[in-house]
Subunit: 330 residues, 2 copies
DNA sequence: CACGATAGTGCAACCGGTTGCAGAACTACT
DNA sequence: AGTAGTTCTGCAACCGGTTGCACTATCGTG
């Protein structure tokens, strides 16, 4: 026989019922439908419950109601600084609605993302998929079963929170143009990232009058950014916009290694504003408000649990100009 | 009546039992204890289950077995760069053991931590408490009821993963001494952090021959670090060791604001090595290996679920010397 | 051939909540 | 007083699994 986890006794409604000299139903109703009981009964039962340290058993509740009181948030990489603030504010908002949060890290893989979702699905009421790498088809399939909120993925008809980088991106392009740059590089992120696609589009359309060289860096990381510098140099660009701040950091390091100084020799703009104030020189970046997005996503999902109406929340961005952008010198 | 989430019909063991013309018990055993059944029965039942697309209901299973297939990791601040790698590797290890991970963020508050734990306890098999702010008493109480693994908290008898900063700290002190510093500041973190206590101790004992000025910065944040610089200057120290890299970043910024250049005018050592390579100048820091700790904690917890033997894993640290430390000039 | 051991299966209780329904107590009105 | 209507509470069934125990074959053995 396999060793079994010792069952923790735990206080049940039965214990409370006995202590409060009422039936189990009354205890249950004192929490779920207090309107049905007299005020004194409710107070009494709740007092006893507090005294005994009662905590409802979610599994049991879920079994009879079909509600779990859990949600899941799935991210491609929790170590990417964009996500922790998002997860943090999301969990905080969920907590106030008495929802517990599962965290899944897909490691930037659509396949692992699908597995995680399948594993979590039977015990959550809904999902927040942040920058999902999953195919549209699978997402729609999932959304048909349970409430789903997307962050930074734009699928018509599915509730979503979009950080619209176009505002900030356009400002960035304008700034670089004004500073005299005519050839800029875009250090592109994962192809299946909606944010990346949006940024590419905005760049190619807003960039009339200057040449945009797209350089793929793949998985957005410090190393990837640092290693892409040779390609940047080869491209002849005098400025670059990077997919996110992590990549920018890497680029900054790579440029320094080559003795190219920022901003006098080269201008750099990041995205997401996750590290912006922390670099030296401080990074000009497109603000994103990941925390805002987290709260918005949580609220949207919570609302969705009550009333399944699709909605889309867009968060505007703007450029925060710091110390990595300057006029061309040559 | 409150609007209810539509119950997803779902195939139950009852359906399978009917289709396979066996009892519900047999279906259950076909999955949980196949040794008890004849091979044909097992095959038959499983085939029927597959045909009907059966997916076990975790909540129901948990209700009768007390096993949930979930664990929880609670951190004081997921936005602190020490934790994401830890959580990431922990979730990855949990995934291979088919465990789903709840994430709780206590916002550095012992009270919220207790609430989170109480909320999650009824649906997890065990906890990983990373840098818990909770009182020893409450932790022991919890550990008495379920498997608990602590990270960076040293309570005798409770399984724990300790990142032992003494090695790296001692090296740091030695280095500063060698560089000619005689008065250094320690920018201390949260009082209820074990890591902080350990670092204080090591500093005061290893620092024979030099004066250590302890400056409390409270919650470890960029802003707190930046704002502590005035106190640092006042202390007359020529070097500082900060509670973590985030604080160091802030200090770096604060020093620059005051025109104090690093490392020529002032030496700085961080802890945790979370951002180390990313700052300018690159930060000398005590390595920590949060990811290693995450994996170790997950493995320890998984092992603990089978066999409740207390264990303690210690992860050694060393100093990574980069560009923020130099000899005193005056 | 009788008998105990063993393997395979089913019955029914249980996990800890929720909820439809019924009944009790009390009020209001004729 | 009798009746209808309300308000409050309890009974018991149910959610979907798991498991102790009992029962029935089947088999080997004395």
């Amino acid at each position: 026989m396999s060793p079994r986890l010792q069952r923790v006794p735990g206080v049940t409604i039965g214990d409370i019922a006995a202590a409060a000299r009422v039936s189990r139903s009354t205890v249950s109703r004192a929490f779920t439908r207090p309107q049905l009981l007299s005020a004194e009964t409710v107070d009494h039962v709740r007092a006893v419950a507090v005294r005994l340290g009662y905590v409802g058993n979610q599994a049991a509740r879920a079994l009879s109601t079909g509600r779990f009181g859990n949600i899941a948030v799935v991210v491609p990489d929790i170590a990417n600084p964009f996500f922790p603030p998002l997860v943090r504010s999301l969990q905080s908002a969920a907590e106030t609605a008495d929802l517990a949060v599962f965290l899944g890290d897909s490691d930037e893989s659509a396949e692992r993302e699908a597995k995680l979702i399948a594993r979590l699905a039977p015990q959550v009421e809904g999902f927040v998929l942040a920058s999902p790498r999953l195919s549209e088809e699978l997402i729609r399939e999932l959304a048909a079963t349970r409430p789903v909120v997307l962050v930074n993925r734009d699928l018509e008809g599915i509730p979503r929170v979009l950080i619209d980088s176009s505002g900030g991106m356009t400002e960035a392009v304008m700034l670089l143009k004004k500073l005299g740059h005519t050839r800029i590089a875009y250090l592109a992120g994962p192809r299946d990232s909606w944010s990346d696609q949006q940024r590419r589009e905005v760049l190619t359309s807003a960039a009339s009058g200057l040449t945009v060289e797209v350089i793929e860096v793949g998985r957005p990381s410090y190393a990837a950014g640092r290693d892409s510098v040779s390609a940047v140099v080869r491209s002849g660009a005098t400025a670059a916009i990077a997919f996110d701040d992590v990549v920018s950091q890497g680029v900054l390091a790579g440029l320094e290694l080559r003795g190219i100084s920022v901003p006098s020799d080269f201008s750099l703009v990041g995205c997401d504003d996750t590290l912006a104030a922390l670099t030296t020189p401080a990074l000009t970046s497109v603000s994103a408000g990941a925390a805002t997005a987290g709260t918005a996503a949580a609220k949207l999902l919570i609302q969705l649990l009550e009333d399944p109406t699709a909605e889309c929340i867009t968060i505007a961005t703007h450029l925060v100009i710091r110390a990595t952008t300057a006029a061309v010198t040559r």
